[in-house]
Symmetry: C2
Subunit: 379 residues, 2 copies
């Protein structure tokens, strides 16, 4: 087993998400040296005696091999910086970069994140906010974009449901262990996201959410995506933290306007007055976050060369007929895998622009067909 991976699992048990002091240690001394010092009780710079003893106490209880084994048994993998599934844009967080991410779900996190937008907002949203979140997320998903949100009640949940309902791709970034759905009322929803998309978090299995963990989770949502859309938010709300984090990271910050009389639009309007972009539908979002020249209403082809796809996903892509649509069962036989696995990979391929729904079936997009004709033979 990779020693650095174990060391990182160990550190997720010992330091809180986004701890920039720990991030500096990792940058200056390397992960294994930091772990050695914490385990051995050899001081690290800039830490108070009280904090140091807290760290040491948590270190004494940490069992990284067991964490990893239990996670694996539960279908959870641990993705680390530099690894093949690591979304490089998280490195923009510098010393606040996650030590690693726990991931549930089949698709490749790195590839999904390349073409993703965050849709976030108030937990206690209005019907208008829920409607806008569902509609925006569905529109983004239909155009092959991955909808990232926080799995919370209100706008977050509506965004996930909108993407799922459109047969699209969605990622929930949790502020707790990914084996521990929070809020409890979203247990079913989060299970469905893990089935059809990805559930991601920095905290090791079993860990609980805390207020500061919610706030720090937001930086991951902001960094992971090309931009953040705030649907409804009161003054000084957590969604505005995500939006401002996105702005600082050079991502697009967007807001959906609402009635000037609505307290739940007041935070969004404040954001818009501060320079965020006003968006009213998915097309306008894509016009901003899409590649140069990706005009909103036009569905575009793959953004990734197919040799970056996971081998099993490439096999599903190769099993699609050249021109006509096919049912998932037929494709599964060609790809020599199960229908469930095939469907999950078809969703991934849809999100990446290779595949589109066609009635009950699936077919290659025009662009995917053209790239087979003119491009490499990797597929």
């Amino acid at each position: 087993m990779d020693g650095e991976v174990l060391d990182r699992v160990f550190l997720t048990r010992v330091v809180e998400p986004g701890d920039e002091l720990a991030g500096r240690w990792v940058r200056e001394f390397g992960v294994s040296e930091v772990v050695r010092r914490v385990r051995g009780g050899r001081a690290l710079p800039g830490v108070s005696a009280r904090r140091w003893s807290g760290l040491r106490a948590r270190a004494a209880r940490a069992e990284p091999e067991r964490d990893l084994a239990e996670a694996r048994a539960a279908g959870v993998r641990f993705v680390t910086p530099g690894g093949s599934e690591w979304p490089g844009q998280l490195d923009d967080l510098a010393d606040a970069r996650p030590l690693g991410l726990w991931v549930r779900g089949r698709p490749d996190l790195r590839m999904w994140a390349l073409r993703s937008v965050a849709v976030v907002g108030a937990r206690a949203c209005t019907e208008y906010g829920a409607h806008m979140a569902v509609t925006l997320a569905a529109g983004l998903a239909e155009r092959g974009w991955v909808v990232v949100s926080g799995g919370a009640y209100g706008v977050d949940g509506s965004a996930h449901r909108g993407a799922l309902g459109a047969g699209g791709a969605t990622v929930a970034v949790l502020a707790c262990g990914v084996d521990r759905p929070y809020p409890r009322g979203h247990t079913e929803l989060i299970a469905r996201i893990a089935e059809q998309g990805l559930v991601v978090g920095e905290l090791p299995p079993g860990d609980h959410p805390t207020p500061s963990r919610f706030v720090l989770r937001n930086r991951v949502i902001a960094a992971l995506t090309r931009g953040t859309v705030v649907v409804e938010a009161a003054y000084r709300s957590g969604s505005l933290v995500t939006a401002r984090a996105a702005d600082r990271l050079g991502r697009y910050t967007m807001g959906v306007p609402g009635p000037a009389t609505s307290a739940l639009s007041a935070g969004v309007h404040e954001l818009l007055r501060g320079g965020a972009e006003l968006v009213t539908d998915a097309a306008e979002v894509i016009e901003l976050v899409g590649d140069m020249g990706e005009l909103a209403p036009v569905r575009r082809g793959p953004v990734l060369p197919r040799d970056l796809l996971a081998p099993a996903t490439r096999r599903v892509l190769a099993a699609l007929p050249g021109r006509r649509a096919a049912a998932a069962d037929e494709i599964a036989r060609g790809a020599q895998t199960t229908p469930d696995d095939t469907i999950a990979r078809l969703y991934e391929l849809t999100a990446l622009g290779f595949v589109e729904r066609h009635g009950d079936g699936w077919k290659l997009t025009r662009q995917a067909v053209m790239s087979v004709r003119t491009g490499s033979q990797h597929g």
Copy 2:
């Protein structure tokens, strides 16, 4: 009688509002020479034969002395460029500058326009739009700003009513003769505006509105004010024309957001996406259009030296007691004029920041008291 005034009245009967070719003639040859040539049938440059014969036909029917006499009898005056009541900012319209403005109402147009904001929008507005127009206009009026609009149904009417209801100042700029209320359903409202504020227009008495006159009227609203707020507007609506005209003239262009699902907010959102300022209340409007350092919630003092006030208005100002509030009747006796005239001038003084309502009475603002103590003796 001033020959140039008569000549300008004559021309308002002969050319349409905003005719830039006629504006160029006036600039190049002077008003009287243009009138001489039109009357005498001597050609002017750049005009087609067909248009020229139309001009000549209208010229044959024009009776400027009678127009002026009838207007005067109806309480309507004719304000011309360079005159003491002419709002200098209209000169920004260059060759599209009005030949003159017909004005009903007591206050001084030039002074009111100095501290004015346009609130415009859809005729078929929603309840939300009407509510926002009333609230914004009332808030502006309460803070001593003059609300300018077009007298139309919907947002315009709501804006006028909001200002009137707050005991504030409002100006209706009509696309027809100011003696001819349009729309007919607003006869009462326009009469009330003429009583408490100003009704203004480019077209000579008796003239009817036409679609192009509505569009050209909008440039006067835009030029007269420090900024234009669009409350609700569908795509490609007339209010957007006003807003864009305001922008071209270097005035502030503002929009009130609404639900992204509302077709009547779509035009406003388009405007906001194009760079207009998002505003949700009067304080935010004033923060933009107010003088440097005029922070929104603070009620500020007079912006004008009192020697610029009309003599009758100065007498009303002088009749206000130094510290306490007084009823209009008492002030009227001191100013040796009628209560009606006194109330109209008190509204004007309120709009200019000299006076504020105090229960049923009126009193000097703190700033007006201070300017009496420290300032000139003109009042």
